[in-house]
Amino acid sequence: MTLREVKDLLQADVLTGQDLLDLEPSSFCGSDLLSDVLAFTKEKTLLLSGLTNSQVIRTAEMSDLIGIVFVRGKKPDSATVELAAIKKIPLLATRLPMFEACGRLYQKGARGCSEIK
């Protein structure tokens, strides 16, 4: 599943990384705990989160995440979007709450970090 398909499934806006939508996450994670993301995700994971501070971008950068989807209508400030643009981390934003966003993706075959090798 590409980021473009994720965007369509979640009716999401692209905040940055329009040119990176052909990337394909190898796993998916929904979390508002950056400590968990740092400790338990794998590289090329797509993170769904309600957190919008700049440390989410830093966490994605260090963990080699493939991108971030902000859920329940939340959007980061312009400096945070700019940081993601510099680091080439695509950012999507959906109005769906976390559970429904994860559910839609899972239903279409997206799998979590503990389910992949």
């Binding site: 508002d32 705990l33 950056l34 400590s35 968990d36 993301v37 740092l38 400790a39 590289e43 989160s49 957190l51 501070n53 700049s54 440390q55 989410v56 830093r58 966490t59 950068e61 260090m62 963990s63 080699d64 680091k87």
Partner: protein, 147 residues
């Protein structure tokens, strides 16, 4: 450790409580490691541990220094801070144990995985701490050895 010199040394100051620039040192470290052509999987575990250590100083201490030395077979990271110190180091290594205040938890940190994750990512970790004075965390990452 032998008396050999690192071929790259990076030394930076960390400002306690400054979340706007928190993570910048780890980000710079990642860029430098990428330029050296090290494997991405290795870089990932180094910079995750660096970021956890950098955030610990920003969250808990007043100020600190972050030193990274790159050798042919390993990377040595030493993070020194002036801060409250850690009263019980074994407790601090325990997953889920955290003394982070509520505003840190609201940012997504403070789940109590910092030190245990640094241990998981590194090949060796040592924590020297004095309550009321500060903490030194030393981590070694061997290039050809899984943590």
């Amino acid at each position: 450790m032998s008396g050999e010199q690192p071929f790259i040394e990076i030394k930076r100051s960390i400002a306690g409580g400054d979340f706007a620039i928190a993570g910048n040192i780890s980000s710079e470290t990642k860029t430098i490691l990428q330029q050296t052509g090290l494997p991405p999987v290795f870089i990932r575990r180094v910079v995750i541990a660096c970021y956890e250590a950098e955030m610990n100083v920003v969250i808990h201490a007043y100020r600190g220094t972050f030193t990274t030395q790159i050798y042919s077979d390993r990377i040595l990271v030493v993070v020194d801070d002036e801060g409250p110190g850690i009263p019980d180091v074994s407790l601090a290594f325990q997953e889920g144990y955290s003394t982070a205040p509520p505003h840190i938890r609201e940012m997504g940190f403070g789940a109590g995985y910092g030190l245990s994750n640094m241990k998981k990512c590194s090949n060796q970790i040592a924590v020297d701490t004095r309550v009321g004075e500060g903490t030194r965390v030393t981590m070694v990452f061997y290039l050809n050895s899984s943590p």
